[in-house]
């Protein structure tokens, strides 16, 4: 009897775990398939008329040697880098966002809201308007701006440790300051420089090339395994500082490491495509809602990020009238809708920010 009664709960746990694992697998598979679907759509639709068969032929041309210069340029030189930029930057923003949200234990805290991307923006605008740089120089400045802002926020929020509350509020203060810098630079620049800076500030996949995606790709290769490694301690952090400390995690160290990874991800993504708003903000919560109570949302959040970015870019390019808008315009609108949903959902379940 006693053996049977202790066996039953174990069996239930195993069953639950299996169910959760299956759900995780389904979610990941679903996201991958959806991403592929959106990517195929983006690859086959455009102002340059190109039948699907030609798109496929061009995609395979590096292997088949069946080259058609004009088509290959559009498929391999324009659309493929664009889709790749969306996937990579979206994944980086999504990862960065979910790490922030988990560490700060607040679904509203993401790098775009706590001021890190605004710091990157101010640095980039400085580069565009004052130094008259473009391309790589702007990216380097954006990256440096993001890291510097993050360090400043963390340093200023430090007072016998860092509370999420202080971190978020100081981040917002820094964002307002960086915003004032941008406003000022806008009044000192020639109008075309302001146009260039504004388009960068909105976040755009225009003009993506494999060359300017390389730094982001390398960053992802290095940082994603690091994030996965640290995410084990992330799960204990979710239980709160006291619980985590009781479990023996060196709280401050893990937190710092993860924040650094998240900041770098946001920095490299911002450098590549500009501060595409709200992707970091919405990817995590969407992934969590898809997964339910089960485990590690890092990979799903990254997939959601890439999916959302490419879907938004498709809408911005092809579904908003004659003008092709930068992707950031659509993600911004999307984020507002999602925010209200999030707060309404928090109302129902009683879990507020």
């Amino acid at each position: 009897m006693s053996a049977a009664s202790s066996f039953a709960p174990v069996g239930a746990v195993v069953a639950v775990r299996k169910r959760l694992q299956r759900r995780y697998g389904l979610v990941v598979l679903g996201l991958v398939l959806l991403s592929l679907a959106v990517a195929s759509l983006s690859m086959s639709v455009g102002d340059y008329p190109l039948p699907l068969a030609d798109v496929l032929r061009s995609l395979l041309s590096p292997f088949t040697g069946h080259a058609d210069a004009a088509n290959d340029f559009i498929v391999l030189g324009v659309r493929l880098p664009r889709v790749t930029a969306g996937l990579l930057s979206g994944a980086a923003f999504g990862l960065s966002g979910i790490i922030f949200q988990t560490i700060l234990r607040n679904p509203l805290a993401s790098p775009d809201i706590v001021g890190i991307t605004t710091g990157a923006s101010a640095a980039a605008v400085l580069a565009i308007i004052i130094f008259k740089w473009s391309g790589l120089g702007v990216s380097v400045m954006a990256c440096g701006g993001a890291v510097l802002t993050a360090l400043l926020i963390y340093g200023l929020a430090w007072r016998n440790g860092v509370t999420p509350y202080r971190l978020v509020l100081i981040g917002i203060g820094m964002a307002a300051l960086a915003g004032a810098v941008v406003s000022y630079l806008f009044t000192r620049a020639r109008i075309m420089e302001v146009q260039e800076a504004l388009s960068w500030l909105t976040g755009s996949l225009n003009g993506s090339t494999f060359e300017n995606l390389t730094p982001l790709a390398i960053a992802l290769i290095v940082l994603v395994p690091l994030a996965a490694l640290l995410s084990r301690s992330l799960r204990t952090l979710q239980m709160g500082d006291d619980a985590a400390r009781a479990l023996g995690t060196r709280v401050e160290f893990s937190r710092l490491g993860l924040i650094l990874v998240a900041v770098l991800l946001a920095a490299f993504a911002t450098a590549a495509v500009g501060p595409v708003s709200f992707v970091a903000f919405i990817a995590g919560p969407i992934a969590r809602r898809l997964l339910g109570p089960s485990g590690n949302a890092l990979l799903p959040a990254a997939l959601v990020g890439g999916l959302v970015t490419n879907a938004a870019d498709f809408v911005a390019q092809h579904m908003l009238g004659r003008n092709q808008l930068p992707v950031g315009v659509v993600t911004g609108a999307l984020g507002a809708v999602f925010l209200i949903y999030l707060l309404a959902a928090a109302h129902r379940s009683g879990r507020g920010g």
Partner: protein, 343 residues
């Protein structure tokens, strides 16, 4: 935390009236400086003549009466409006970080002004006023509603984040318009920095009635705010109508902050920091915090404007930049203070 326990902070009650008089004197000095100091040196005798024996042919007289005087008065009203709206918002929400600027009104006002320029072809500052007013009010309402979702209501962090999020959302719509409309961009960039330059008498006359009405309404709320500071239940016990009180505060805040933004463009940090400065003198008593904020804010705003006028000759630095540069460090110091959340 009761009113009695913390009334020890700030000046002793007897000294508060004296402090108020000193502040009033300081404001008069700043007003005088704002009339006398500018990008163009003008002799005091000329200034006196401009007032007593105005001669429209004299450029110096025109500058005093048509530029510096309206600019100074707009600064006075905008400052008072920002300081008061910050103070009553912080009181009504019991949130030390409530600030009209952080609550999304700037983004709302900017979007409406951008629409006005691009859709209706409005080109002059005085034409922006109504639009900015409308946008500011609407945005603030949305932020408050969004932040109020959820069980604990509008907590400090939720308000701030909802403000930042709504700001980002509105900004993306604004960007969508500006990216394809360079003429609008060229105009809006000088407005959205926040400035008192070019604010002439017609702008003063447009916003003055609103700000004056808002000031009266705000000062009337001090009893409600003192009650709310004790908690809603205690306030009800004291016979206060809590809901009606909050609505009145909200209305006053929207009028004040909306009119201020309409007149000067987005100006950050003044509404946020001044009430805290006032509290340092007065302790937690809104009967004093409100008048103190009303005097301190224009002193700071006009002071920042004067600094901006002389720091980069022969041009000027906009007041919005100066207040951001001074306000951000203060804000950060404020956040670092331990007991901030308990207001």
């Amino acid at each position: 935390m009761t009113a009695r326990a913390t009334s020890a902070t700030g000046l002793p009650p007897a000294a508060r009236a004296g402090g108020f008089v000193l502040l009033a004197l300081a404001l008069v000095v700043v007003l005088a400086l704002s009339i006398t100091v500018g990008a163009r040196p003008i002799a005091l005798s000329d200034i006196w003549n401009a007032v007593t024996a105005f001669d429209p042919a004299q450029t110096n007289h025109k500058i005093i009466l048509d530029l510096r005087l309206p600019r100074t008065l707009v600064g006075l009203l905008v400052g008072a409006a920002l300081g008061l709206s910050g103070a009553i918002l912080q009181g009504a929400t019991r949130n030390p970080l409530a600030d009209p600027g952080i609550l999304g009104i700037n983004a709302g006002a900017t979007l409406c002004v951008v629409l006005g320029i691009s859709v209706f072809g409005i080109t002059q500052l005085s034409g922006y006023v109504w639009l900015a007013f409308l946008g500011a009010g609407a945005a603030m309402l949305v932020v408050y509603l969004v932040a109020s979702l959820g069980r604990e209501g509008a907590t400090p962090v939720k308000l701030a984040l909802a403000g930042a999020a709504v700001t980002a959302a509105l900004t993306s719509v604004t960007s969508a318009i500006l990216i394809t409309n360079v003429q609008t961009l060229d105009q809006i960039r000088f407005w959205q920095v926040g400035a008192l330059t070019g604010r002439t008498t017609d702008i003063l006359l447009q916003v003055a009635p609103f700000i004056l009405a808002g000031i009266v309404l705000a000062l009337l709320t001090s009893r409600i705010l003192d009650g709310l500071a004790l908690g809603d239940d205690v306030a009800r016990g004291l016979g206060l109508k809590v809901q009606r009180g909050r609505a009145m505060v909200g209305l006053a805040a929207v009028i004040l902050a909306g009119a201020a933004t309409a007149a000067a463009g987005p100006i950050a940090f003044v509404g946020l920091t001044v009430p805290h400065l006032a509290r340092a003198f007065t302790g937690p008593n809104y009967r004093w915090i409100l008048p103190y904020s009303m005097l301190l804010a224009p002193i700071l705003l006009l002071g920042a404007d004067i600094v901006g006028r002389i720091i980069v000759p022969p041009g000027e630095l906009q007041v919005g930049i100066v207040t951001a540069a001074l306000g951000a460090p203060f804000f950060i110091a404020l956040v670092r203070r331990r007991k901030l959340a308990e207001l």
